[in-house]
C-alpha cells in the first residue's frame, strides 16, 4: 500500500476543536453537560437534547474495528494510487463510531473486533491551520 496523503480537511467553528486536537495527537470528542451524551461528529448543539452546553474532552483513543472494507478501486486521487487501503468504522471506548482508515497493518490481516488506537497524520498546509487526520492502527 502506497503511503496516502489524506485530502485537506475543512473546518467550521463547530468542528475545528476536533481537527486541532488531532494536530496535538489527541482524539477530541464532545460531551453534553446537560445530559452527558458523548457525540461525534462535533456540532453546536447536543444531538440528544439540543442543549448548547457542550464541552470537548480528550478521549482514550482506544477502540475496536466495528467493520471495514479493503478498497481496491477508487478513481479519485490520491486514493487511486493508495489502493488497496482499509476504510473502517472504529467503535471508540467512549461510544461514538468513527469513519477512518486502519494503517500500519497488512490489509488482509485486519479483522472485525481488532483492538486499535488512534494515529494522527499532520497536514502540510499553507492557510495557517494546524490540523491532522485521525486514523487507527493496531493496539500494541
Amino acid at each position: 500500500m502506497a503511503d496516502l496523503t489524506h485530502p485537506k480537511v475543512h473546518a467550521s467553528w463547530e468542528t475545528r476543536g476536533y481537527w486541532e486536537g488531532a494536530a496535538r495527537g489527541e482524539l477530541v470528542l464532545q460531551r453534553c453537560r446537560a445530559c452527558a451524551t458523548v457525540q461525534h461528529k462535533p456540532r453546536g448543539v447536543c444531538a440528544t437534547c439540543l442543549s448548547g452546553d457542550l464541552e470537548h474532552f480528550v478521549a482514550s483513543g482506544r477502540g475496536t474495528v466495528y467493520t471495514f472494507t479493503v478498497t481496491h478501486q477508487n478513481q479519485a486521487p490520491p486514493f487511486a494510487a493508495a489502493c488497496p487501503y482499509v476504510m473502517a468504522y472504529v467503535q471508540t471506548e467512549e461510544g461514538p463510531r468513527l469513519l477512518t482508515h486502519i494503517v500500519g497493518v497488512d490489509p488482509e490481516a485486519v479483522q472485525i473486533g481488532m483492538a486499535v488506537v488512534a494515529d494522527f497524520q499532520s497536514q502540510e498546509r499553507t492557510d495557517g491551520e494546524q490540523f491532522a487526520v485521525v486514523r487507527f492502527r493496531p493496539a500494541d
Binding site: 489524506h6 485530502p7 485537506k8 480537511v9 475543512h10 473546518a11 467550521s12 463547530e14 468542528t15 481537527w19 451524551t37 458523548v38 457525540q39 461528529k41 444531538a47 440528544t48 466495528y66 467493520t67 471495514f68 472494507t69 479493503v70 478498497t71 481496491h72 478501486q73 477508487n74 478513481q75 479519485a76 486521487p77 490520491p78 486514493f79 493508495a82 487501503y85 476504510m87 473502517a88 468504522y89 461510544g95 461514538p96 463510531r97 469513519l99 477512518t100 482508515h101 472485525i112 487526520v133
Partner: protein, 386 residues
C-alpha cells in the same frame, strides 16, 4: 376515508434508452412524461401536480422543470432523498390528491450519468469544502465501500457467504435476459461473480450495479378517476418513509430504512409479507437486496443469505425480486427508485411477457436513497390490483 387505496398509478413509462449522449435530463423527463400520459390516456394539460428529482437538479430544479414543461401546477414537490425519491413522490402525490390539492400528478426522473461518465460508485471522496463532509472526504469514502462495510459485518456476524450474494446478481441477470431493453442480458454464473475483480472487499465488480442513462415517469390520480382511464388502476395501498444515519444511538449498521418504511407501508395496507407476489427492491449492490429483504420483514436479520438462495427470489420462486433485471443488470442511471414502481405496475397489469409473475396481485417496492452504512433514506410502496 383512508389513504390506502384512495389513489392509483394510472400510467407508467420507462424510457428505453441506456445511452443518450444526444439528450438532456429534462428532455428524457419530458419524453417519459409523454409516454406515461399516453399510457394513462391523459395529456400534459391534465397535469396539475409536478414531482421530480435528478442527480443534477439544484435547489430550484423543480421550478426549472416546470418551466421546461410549461406547466403551472397547483402542487409541486422536488423532494430529493436520493434514489428512493420517486417512491416518496408517489406517496406524497397520493396524499396531495387525497387532500384535494391536485388531481393528476406526474413523477419524473431523467439522467445522463453514463454518457457524462459519472463515476457513481467509485469516484467520490475528494474535493468537498463542506466541513461536515470532512469527516468522510479524507478517507476516500466510496459508495461501494460503504455497502462493502455492511456486507463485511453481515458475513462476519452471520456467516453469510459470497456465493449467496453472488446468487442475487445471477438471478437479476437471468431476469434481465428476459427484458428486451435491459443493458446486460447475457446470463452469468456464481463463479463469474466471484472471479470478477474485487472493487471493495467483499464486493466484486458483478456485485455492483451498472451505470446507464435513463429515466421514467409515473402518473398518479384518484382510484375513482383511474377507473375511467385506459389502464387497469394499480392502487397505492400502503406507503412509508424513513431516514437512517450513523449518529448517536445508531443501533446497528445492519438496520436500514426499509425497517421503518416497510412497517409503515405494510401497516397502512393491512397485508402480510406472505401475501406479496413480487418485490422490487433497490439493488445498488447485492448486499442491498439481502439487507432490504431482511429489513422489510421477509426473513429475520441474519437469515438473508439462506433466504436469497436456492432460487427463492427468481421468477418461479417464492418471492420473485426485480423482474426487470434491476440496477445490477437492466439500468442504473444513479437514482433508480422510479423503475421499481414502474416494473411493479407493469407486473400487476400483467404486461411483462416472458418475465411475468403469474397472477400477480400484490407487490412491494422499496427504494434506498443515499448510502447504506452512512446516511440513507428509505421509501416503501405496497401496490395492488383488484
Amino acid at each position: 376515508m383512508s389513504l390506502s387505496g384512495a389513489c392509483a398509478i394510472a400510467g407508467v413509462y420507462e424510457h428505453p434508452t441506456r445511452w443518450a449522449p444526444d439528450k438532456t435530463e429534462f428532455q428524457i423527463m419530458a419524453e417519459s412524461a409523454k409516454g406515461a400520459l399516453d399510457d394513462a390516456g391523459l395529456t400534459i394539460n391534465d397535469v396539475d401536480g409536478l414531482f421530480g428529482a435528478s442527480m443534477t437538479m439544484g435547489a430550484m430544479g423543480i421550478v426549472e422543470l416546470a418551466e421546461y414543461l410549461n406547466l403551472k401546477p397547483t402542487y409541486i414537490d422536488g423532494t430529493n432523498i436520493g434514489g428512493s425519491s420517486f417512491l416518496a413522490h408517489v406517496s406524497h402525490a397520493a396524499a396531495a390528491i387525497h387532500a384535494g390539492m391536485c388531481k393528476v400528478a406526474i413523477v419524473l426522473y431523467g439522467s445522463t450519468a453514463a454518457s457524462n461518465a459519472v463515476a457513481i460508485g467509485t469516484g467520490m471522496g475528494h474535493g468537498s469544502r463542506n466541513p461536515w463532509d470532512s469527516f468522510q472526504s479524507p478517507y476516500g469514502m466510496t459508495t461501494v465501500g460503504s455497502y462493502a462495510m455492511v456486507a463485511q459485518l453481515h458475513m462476519q456476524r452471520y456467516g453469510t457467504k459470497p456465493e449467496q450474494l453472488a446468487e442475487i446478481a445471477v438471478t437479476m441477470r437471468r431476469h434481465a435476459s428476459m427484458n428486451p431493453v435491459a443493458k446486460m442480458r447475457t446470463p452469468i454464473t456464481v463463479d463469474d461473480v466471484l472471479s470478477s475483480r474485487l472493487i471493495s472487499a467483499p464486493l466484486h465488480l458483478l456485485d455492483c450495479c451498472i451505470i446507464s442513462d435513463g429515466g421514467g415517469a409515473i402518473v398518479v390520480t384518484s382510484t375513482e378517476r383511474a377507473k375511467d382511464l385506459r389502464r387497469k388502476p394499480v392502487q397505492i395501498l400502503g406507503c412509508g418513509e424513513s431516514v437512517c444515519h450513523q449518529e448517536i444511538g445508531a443501533p446497528d449498521l445492519l438496520t436500514m430504512g426499509a425497517r421503518q418504511a416497510g412497517e409503515l407501508a405494510f401497516g397502512m395496507a393491512g397485508v402480510q409479507r406472505s401475501d406479496i407476489d413480487l418485490a422490487m427492491v433497490y439493488d445498488s449492490f447485492t448486499i442491498t437486496v439481502l439487507s432490504t429483504l431482511e429489513n422489510l420483514g421477509f426473513c429475520k436479520v441474519g437469515e438473508g443469505g439462506d433466504f436469497v438462495s436456492g432460487g427463492r427470489i427468481g421468477l418461479g420462486g417464492e418471492l420473485p425480486v426485480n423482474l426487470d433485471g434491476g440496477g445490477l443488470s437492466s439500468n442504473h442511471p444513479g437514482m433508480r427508485g422510479i423503475f421499481l414502481a414502474i416494473e411493479a405496475t407493469k407486473q400487476l397489469r400483467g404486461e411483462c411477457g416472458e418475465r411475468q409473475v403469474a397472477n400477480a396481485k400484490l407487490a412491494v417496492a422499496h427504494g434506498t436513497g443515499g448510502t447504506l452504512g452512512v446516511a440513507h433514506s428509505g421509501a416503501t410502496l405496497i401496490l395492488g390490483v383488484e
